[in-house]
Symmetry: C2
Subunit: 209 residues, 2 copies
């Protein structure tokens, strides 16, 4: 049998032949956990990226397949062509949402750490994936706490007017109405916050067995 | 210790604290295989997607973590805003390259199945990742074989002038100069081609142990 026949047959008898081969479900069975998007949202300095990486560490030790998307690996690569205008920020989140969807399909627990200040953008991502696969985690820390930390010196620059559209200073942050989880990253310890996220995953049946 | 201290400490003593947590190497150890990009390139109808999915099936049975990027999961999502102009096709490949890089970092064997007709675009992707992590696989089938198959009826439309810039008809396909592998998808069976790809992965030490 040559390739031509081999290729043509499944397609002609079943249009989705090549989709069916390795499904999300088969990957989840292999991984011994379900895949899910953990969407961390909150002000700059609220601890999104640190918390996401700390949760990932815990999950990796449990032999879960994970990946963190954050400014470090997205802004200079995939979204290197985007600036900080309203439309670019929207496009930034749209692409991150779609990449998260690919990782979800790949069986990965994907953790995203972006300010993502607008409800509508977060809702767009939520609606990209099946119900229950998008868990919105609100990293709740007051502006004053975040500004006091100012780990990257961004708030100082924003106060001086050197950065336009800076969330919390010159652009709004819209609190989630019904996030799956609120972590008080301004008050609680990192390990407490990690435990809260892990408890959510247990409650949602992410770990198989 | 509150989160603020907890978050601030590692950052102030070590700027890359949160990057260090789960590395590509740790994921590869967990997976028992290295990650790599298998970049299938060739004419429409040359069997890229079918071969990529068949290789994935074989790898999944070997308990590898894999993901196929192809038109089905990329064109309607991440790259749904792109058309088929020269600049859009370039941007299409650029984004796919960057998403592949993320999957590579996540420890996954990522298989891409796009015509990707231009050498320069493929070289851009090759140069995005460390040497040896991009394996170019040329799905070599003659235009006449591909056109005879015409599984999607695209060649017929292109010949009628209904599709502009159609590779092989009204736009060039640039053969790779030094692909890591050439598979004769126009002549050999699917299983022969799969075996060739698996042999390449063995030769490259992708499977740990």
């Amino acid at each position: 049998m040559n390739l031509k026949t081999n290729l043509a047959e499944p397609k002609s008898t079943n249009g989705v032949w090549h989709h069916a081969s390795v499904s999300r479900e088969r990957r989840e069975t292999l991984n011994q956990h379900k895949s899910v998007i953990l969407w961390f949202t909150g002000l700059s300095g609220s601890g999104k990226s640190t918390l996401a990486h700390a949760v990932e560490e815990e999950l990796h030790q449990r032999k879960c397949r994970t990946y963190v998307l954050d400014g470090d690996n997205v802004r200079h690569g995939l979204n290197g062509d985007l600036g900080f205008s309203e439309s670019d920020r929207k496009e930034n989140i749209r692409r991150i949402g779609n990449v998260s969807k690919l990782f979800l399909d790949a069986g990965t627990i994907v953790l995203t750490a972006f300010i993502s200040p607008f409800k509508t953008d977060r809702e767009i991502v939520r609606n990209l994936v099946p119900h229950g696969d998008f868990l919105e985690i609100f990293c709740n820390a007051s502006l004053s706490v975040c500004e006091q930390r100012d780990t990257k010196g961004m708030y100082k620059k924003a106060r001086k007017g050197l950065i336009k559209n800076f969330t919390g200073i010159s652009s709004p942050y819209e609190d989630p109405d019904k996030p799956e989880l609120v972590v008080n990253t301004g008050e609680n310890s990192l390990s407490e916050c990690v435990n809260q996220v892990i408890a959510l995953l247990e409650e949602r049946g992410i770990f198989i067995q």
